[in-house]
């Protein structure tokens, strides 16, 4: 944890805060742990990777590393949208159990804000049945009467095609 976080815990010793970076995706606001965010950059062209699912847009070069880019709309089976001026790529550090950390980028409609959310205020998400992919959701938080969906990026970016161990063995 950073020094800033230590300071926070001194000021508000009874409450633990979580800083979230939020972004928009099809009208909803989603949040990720800000400590995992490495950088935010505008959408630029990617190199396609053959024979991968559509939501894996391709790879880009981030200071010498080859980083895969995932379209969040497609990942969540939302409607496709043309990339525009506000479309950004959030570069995230993904922790995978027993493996070295990986870097991945996610394409979202726009970034929104940074919020300080008391950890207790993140409520477990209700059961949506099968309608929504809730396994990637840590919980829901309310800020200024708005609902923010807090994502579990480790879970999300380690699932299925992105899993460290190639599950499609023949």
């Amino acid at each position: 944890m950073s020094e800033a976080a230590d300071d926070l815990s001194h000021q508000e010793s009874e409450k633990e805060f979580k800083e979230l970076l939020t972004f928009f995706l099809a009208g909803e606001e989603y949040g990720v742990d800000i400590l995992r965010v490495q950088e935010i950059k505008g959408w630029d062209s990617v190199t396609n990777i053959p024979n991968t699912p559509e939501y894996i847009r391709g790879v880009i070069n981030i200071r010498g590393s080859i980083v895969p880019i995932i379209d969040m709309r497609l990942r969540f089976r939302l409607e496709k949208k043309e990339y525009d001026a506000t479309t950004v790529v959030i570069i995230l550090n993904v922790v995978s159990k027993g493996n070295a950390d990986r870097i991945m980028g996610v394409v979202v409609d726009a970034v929104s804000d940074v919020y300080n959310v008391p950890a207790n205020d993140v409520k477990a998400s209700p059961d949506f049945g099968t309608a929504v992919d809730t396994e990637f959701v840590t919980g829901l938080a309310t800020i200024d009467e708005k609902m923010i969906i807090v994502l579990n990026i480790d879970h999300m970016l380690n699932a299925a095609e992105l899993a460290v161990v190639d599950t499609i063995t023949e």
């Binding site: 053959p50 024979n51 790879v59 080859i66 990986r102 870097i103 460290v164 190639d166």
Partner: protein, 674 residues
């Protein structure tokens, strides 16, 4: 004064293993009847430094064991003992035991005491039946009534300040004799408050019993401290020393060799994490960096200058060209640091062949050439096992028994040739034998039996030979402990593929086989041919490209309306439309408007259809697996000059992918027909 000796352990192991290798190859030469004094000396020196090192680090068991070997070698060196096959065999066995001991100590596991004592007995046995050696060594527990020495060692007060450690001397002395009895004289020790911890006030009287030590050997121990102590050495020949082992110096006494093995190390050190670099390579590197700095300062002048005219631009261009040259040279120098001669992988083969030919009762001569060919360290470490497998195979399956050879009109002794050389930016390793060659019919029937090929398939000779690399294929009728365990040639091929290389076999029945392994010089950089397909740029390794050509319509043929082949001179080569396999949008799907790049991997050729050839450049290979995962048909990615990512195509993987694609088509056609 306490220096953490642990930090030197790694070096000690490395040097010791090197020493063992030297001993082994020396002994093998001896066995072939070349008794060369220089050779024996080399073996002796290696044994001696292992002994010295292990004594220093307190690996008493190793030091003792080596001591006996050393004694034997010393006798050989002095001409007191004949070099005979049993003696050399015993010494070879001892090298193995020693290697096991060192491995055990390094890994913190138990030393195989039985093994050690068995070999010690064997050596002592040889020493016992002396040619003209005066003293036979005996077991430590019994009192050696024979020769011994009394060593009076009184170091000067400042001995420790010169960097000498008396404990080390004691250990070394201890390793010389069977038993050592030490009395310490503390009389001159000052009171504690006056004691300087770096002073040495004690003197010692050491009785060495047994172990066949000469005065010179004892003097040698003290060679470094000669002028920093009073040393008196008296012979114990007429003395009657009564010694019990308990009285010896300190706790690390010899009796149980396993003791030093229990000096456990918490975590197993990573396999050869260090690298020995020739100093000239480092100097070269420093030179290059110097040049680079000069070029940089020259170029930075242009950044400061106010205006540009033709002459400055001309000079700028020159500077940039220089920079390019230097960068490339620097890159090559850095790569060379990782390069090691292939002899590191080859050196185990004389022993292997020697042992196996005894096991199989075959007469085999091993010829090795090109041992100084350099190869990337990572590649070198990983190529060892596949090579061993191939050599074993040649020995087991390839070379026939002497009787069979004679009846086939060949010389009794089979020849296995191991060679390494450069060829077109690749390292080629060949394993050639003059044995029976591959039995095509046997392979084919076996493959049919295992369902690897259908009975109506027509295969060329090379294709049949290639079948031995298929998983689950082994033709050995009898499963020996050497080959035929099921982990066969497919593992060899897979391992070599993982290194970005290829393996193929050529064989003539009755005359022998040649296995050819092609390996990239390095795993980090590749000469790439950039090709364009639609908006994408892919990179083909230049080494696998045979030629690129413009398509002539009359040479295109379709097989069953589906698979396309291109007739190139008198060969039919399958056309792979890369855009189909990689699902990208090409500029054109008409073969005539694009180009075909004929590539080869593992003896298979395909013609890749691309829109355009873009240029050649060296590319740095970046793994896709770091942040993503392995993709079939790709060996990695690289970053082009403009910062974009281009994918590097793995030709062997692409061929697999193409064949799978074709197979599914065939299935669907068959399904439709049925």
């Amino acid at each position: 004064m306490s220096i953490d000796l642990e930090q030197f352990h790694e070096t000690f192991y490395e040097e010791s293993f090197e020493g063992l290798d030297i001993m082994e190859s020396g002994l093998l030469e001896l066995e072939q009847g070349e008794v060369d004094l220089e050779n024996i000396n080399t073996i002796f020196r290696s044994a001696h430094s292992i002994k010295g090192g292990s004594g220093t680090f307190g690996f008493t068991a190793v030091a003792e064991f080596t001591h006996d070997m050393e004694t034997l070698l010393d006798q050989m060196r002095n001409g007191e003992r004949q070099v005979t096959v049993p003696v050399v065999e015993t010494l070879l066995g001892s090298v193995d035991v020693l290697r096991n001991m060192l491995n055990a100590i390094r890994d913190g596991s138990e030393i195989d005491v039985d093994n050690v004592s068995e070999m010690t007995t064997a050596i002592k046995g040889i020493l016992g039946v002396a040619d003209d050696v005066s003293v036979a060594t005996e077991d430590t527990s019994s009192n050696a009534g024979g020769k011994g020495w009394i060593v009076n060692f009184a170091p000067f007060v400042d001995i420790m300040k010169t960097g000498n450690d008396t404990v080390r001397l004691m250990r070394e002395l201890n390793s010389l004799a069977d038993t050592a009895e030490v009395t310490v004289n503390n009389e001159s020790l000052p009171p504690l408050n006056e004691l300087d911890p770096e002073d040495c006030h004690q003197s010692w009287c050491i009785k060495l019993i047994g172990g066949d030590v000469s005065e010179d050997e004892i003097r040698e121990v003290f060679a470094w401290v000669d002028d920093e102590c009073d040393l008196k050495i008296e012979s114990l020949a007429d003395g009657k020393a009564q010694v019990s082992p308990e009285q010896t110096d300190g706790s690390e006494q010899q009796k149980t060799p396993a003791k030093s093995g229990s000096e456990k190390r918490a975590n197993k050190p990573a396999e050869s994490s260090s690298i020995r670099v020739n100093i000239s390579k480092v100097d070269e590197l420093i030179n290059m960096v110097g040049e680079l700095v000069i070029t940089q300062s020259m170029l930075s002048r242009f950044g400061e200058s106010e205006e540009f005219n033709d002459s400055t631009i001309e000079r700028l261009k020159d500077g940039l060209a220089q920079l390019e040259g230097h960068t490339r040279e620097l890159q090559e120098s850095v790569m060379r640091i990782r390069m090691m001669p292939i002899s590191f992988a080859f050196q185990r083969f004389p022993r292997l062949v020697h042992d196996l030919s005894t096991t199989f009762n075959k007469k085999i001569e091993l010829i090795m050439t090109g041992e100084s060919t350099e190869l990337d360290k990572t590649v070198l470490e990983k190529i060892g096992d596949p090579l061993v497998h191939l050599v074993r195979n040649s020995l087991d399956h390839g070379i026939e028994s002497p009787e069979k050879r004679v009846s086939a009109g060949k010389s009794e002794t089979g020849v296995i040739e191991l060679s390494a050389f450069h060829q077109g930016g690749n390292i080629v390793i060949q394993i050639k034998d003059d044995g029976a060659g591959l039995d095509k019919d046997k392979i084919l029937s076996k493959a049919r039996e295992k369902g690897l090929v259908t009975s109506d398939e027509r295969l060329s000779d090379d294709q049949i030979h290639d079948l031995i690399f298929r998983p689950g294929f082994s033709t050995a009728d009898v499963v020996s402990d050497v080959s035929g365990r099921g982990v066969g040639m497919d593992v060899v091929r897979r391992n070599i593929r993982e290194l970005g290389g290829a393996v193929e076999v050529k064989s003539t029945q009755g005359e022998g086989s040649v296995f050819t392994i092609r390996l990239p010089l390095t795993l980090a950089i590749l000469d790439g041919q950039l090709v364009g397909i639609g908006e994408e740029t892919y990179i083909l390794p230049v080494i696998s490209i045979i030629e690129s050509l413009q398509v002539k319509a009359e040479n295109i043929n379709a097989v069953a309306g589906n698979a396309e082949v291109y007739r190139l001179r008198d060969e039919y080569i399958p056309i792979v439309r890369l855009y189909q396999i990689f699902s990208v949008e090409p500029v054109s799907t008409e073969l005539e408007s694009g180009l075909l790049v004929v590539v080869e991997a593992e003896g298979k050729k395909i013609a890749i259809y691309v829109d355009d050839l873009l240029g050649q450049q060296q590319v740095v290979i970046k793994s896709l697996e770091t942040n993503f995962k392995k993709i079939e048909g790709l060996s990695g990615a690289t970053i082009l000059g403009d910062g974009t990512v281009a994918l590097i195509i793995d030709i062997a993987g692409l061929i697999d992918l193409y064949q799978k694609d074709m197979a599914t088509n065939v299935v669907s056609i068959k399904g439709a027909a049925a």
